[in-house]
């Protein structure tokens, strides 16, 4: 009888130890979670992306292609309008320059000095003209079965 009790006692203690270990484990994980993922004690900020992160050749915050001249473009061009306006467009050197002149004349853009060439070179290199012909073909068709 006593042996059985002893056996029971030993099993009981082991369960106790295991539970204690698991419990401690949870506390440790919880503490780590609070440290790494807890509320930040900074001013209101929604950005979760590193503002200068480059991934697969793209500057993630703006979506612009990472290349020579990118920082100059960001500093001068993204203050007023979104980078999406740039990304949508494809133009030649003359048209990009004409666009800059129009922005300076009518939209409050400041003189760019030497930066203008840097900016236009970036744009013509990374967002060049595409040949479309008189009517582009249909592209990016998402095929699906039409059930009646």
């Amino acid at each position: 009888m006593q042996e059985k009790e002893n056996k029971d006692g030993i099993v009981f203690k082991t369960i106790f130890k295991v539970m204690l270990l698991i419990f401690t484990g949870f506390i440790l994980i919880g503490a780590l979670a609070i440290i790494f993922y807890g509320p930040r004690q900074t001013q209101v900020e929604l950005t979760e992306v590193d503002p200068e992160l480059i991934e697969n050749g793209i500057h993630v915050r703006t979506g612009l292609i990472e290349a020579d001249g990118l920082q100059t473009v960001i500093t001068n061009c993204i203050t007023c309008h979104s980078s999406k306006l740039i990304i949508q467009n494809r133009m030649g050197e003359e048209q990009w320059n004409a666009t800059i002149r129009w922005m300076q004349k009518t939209q409050g853009l400041w003189p760019l000095g030497e930066n203008q060439k840097v900016i236009v070179d970036y744009l013509t290199t990374n967002y060049p003209l595409l040949e479309k012909g008189r009517r582009p073909p249909l592209t990016d068709i998402d095929w699906y079965s039409l059930e009646k």
Partner: protein, 406 residues
């Protein structure tokens, strides 16, 4: 572009901007707390737009529909395209909102509150087609700069308001009146308070039409903020930039209005046709007025695969600025042969017209259904791009969808 989370660096200043109010007790906000309102910079939530709408730009906000989203006879808000030249107005107080009628050719300048307008003048409701002048720009070659709309910058919602002509008559129109010009509460991208993002207008003949409204409701409800709350102009059938949003002034001019985006090449095409890529002087550019004939196949969505032997019902809408649609046809052989589609009468002048047809395919294969509308001047949509112009306006080439018969 699929829906993405629009995560942005924001401060309480931006929050004030979005809400249009001061943030009371902002000093008491706990550090690290994200105000509820700031948590939303997602335009789909901000503007109640369907997730399949395409965002072209987020500063300023520009979004378009896809053809299959525009199948409703009357366009609901969730599928209505968003077009902005500037930033949305920061402070809107309906109770103190005023509309001033002024200008060289007003008999006596007058100011109205919103409740003045709603109580003194008779209300009218019309279904009115608004299309961006640059709808279709993406196809031009050489390309034109600006938002690269494909086909989705068009809508035909029901607008309720008072007739502009009734208000102008109340203030009095001098004999030398030529044009009206609107001024609004939106802000220039540069935040320079002396610059207007847009201030356009229309000739008196358009201003005095029965369907030209000062609108306060869209589809029976208050106009959504992004579409011009609390008061906007609706000039159906003309480039939608004439339908000014967030109006605070209408000026009766004794000359063509010369506000922002009236001058230069804005909303103008060459007075005389030019070759693709030509440079055109500003003085050789003419203002766009009535939009050209155009149509859209809104059902089925492009890319449908159907079984051989089955016929396919298609439907869509057609519109033609000030004109009406005379006939509608479709082709499955790239314009070699055309078959008629049935076209309904418009609900009222300047509403789009619905069409439908049952299409049969001779055998298996890849097909494109091209749709072509003819207006009441017997002018048809071109199959290739129409005349090139420097700003890429007025692409009314036929819409087509892809079909596979298996």
């Amino acid at each position: 572009m699929k829906r993405r989370s629009f995560v942005a660096k924001s401060g309480l200043g931006t929050l004030a901007t979005l809400l249009g109010v001061d943030i009371v007790y902002k000093e008491l906000m706990p550090k690290g707390y994200t105000p509820l309102a700031l948590q939303e910079t997602d335009p789909f939530k901000l503007f109640n737009k369907d997730e399949a709408m395409v965002v072209l730009n987020d500063k300023p906000w520009n979004m378009e529909a896809q053809a299959h989203l525009l199948n409703d006879r009357v366009t609901p808000n969730k599928y209505m395209f968003v077009r902005n030249n500037g930033l949305l107005p920061e402070k809107i107080d309906e109770s103190s909102w005023e509309l001033k009628i002024d200008g060289e050719s007003v008999v006596e300048s007058k100011t109205y509150s919103l409740s003045d307008l709603k109580t003194k003048f008779k209300h009218h409701t019309y279904q009115l087609t608004l299309e961006c002048g640059g709808n279709g720009r993406s196809e031009f070659n050489p390309p034109a700069k600006g938002n690269q709309w494909t086909i989705g910058a068009v809508s035909s919602a029901e607008w309720t308001g008072i007739r502009l002509k009734d208000v102008l008559a109340d203030a009095g129109i001098k004999d030398d009146a030529v044009y009206i010009g609107y001024h609004a509460a939106d802000m220039h991208l540069s935040r320079n308070p002396t610059k207007e993002p847009i201030s356009r207008g229309v000739p008196m003949s358009k201003a005095l039409q029965e369907e030209t409204l000062l609108a306060f409701s869209m589809n029976g409800e208050a106009i959504p903020l992004v579409h011009g709350f609390p008061l906007r102009l609706i000039c159906g059938g003309w480039p939608a930039s004439t339908s000014g949003k967030w109006l605070n002034t209408i000026s009766i001019r004794n000359k063509v209005h010369d506000g922002a985006k009236m001058e230069g090449s804005s909303y103008r095409v060459p007075c005389e046709t030019v070759a693709p890529g030509e440079t055109v002087a500003d003085e050789d550019m003419c203002i766009i007025e009535s939009m050209p004939v155009k149509s859209l196949i809104t059902y089925p969505k492009s890319g449908a695969i159907i079984k051989e032997g089955k016929s396919l019902k298609i439907n869509g809408h057609a519109w033609a600025g000030e004109l009406e649609i005379n006939s509608m046809e479709y082709s499955i052989d790239y314009g070699t042969s055309w078959k008629p589609a049935s076209i309904e009468k418009a609900k009222n002048r300047l509403a789009w017209q619905h069409f439908n047809a049952t299409v049969n395919f001779p055998k298996k294969g890849y097909y494109e259904i091209w749709a072509r509308a003819t207006d009441s001047n017997e002018n048809k949509q071109p199959m290739v791009l129409p005349g090139w112009n420097p700003k890429g306006y007025l692409n009314n080439a036929c819409h087509r969808i892809a079909i596979k018969v298996v």
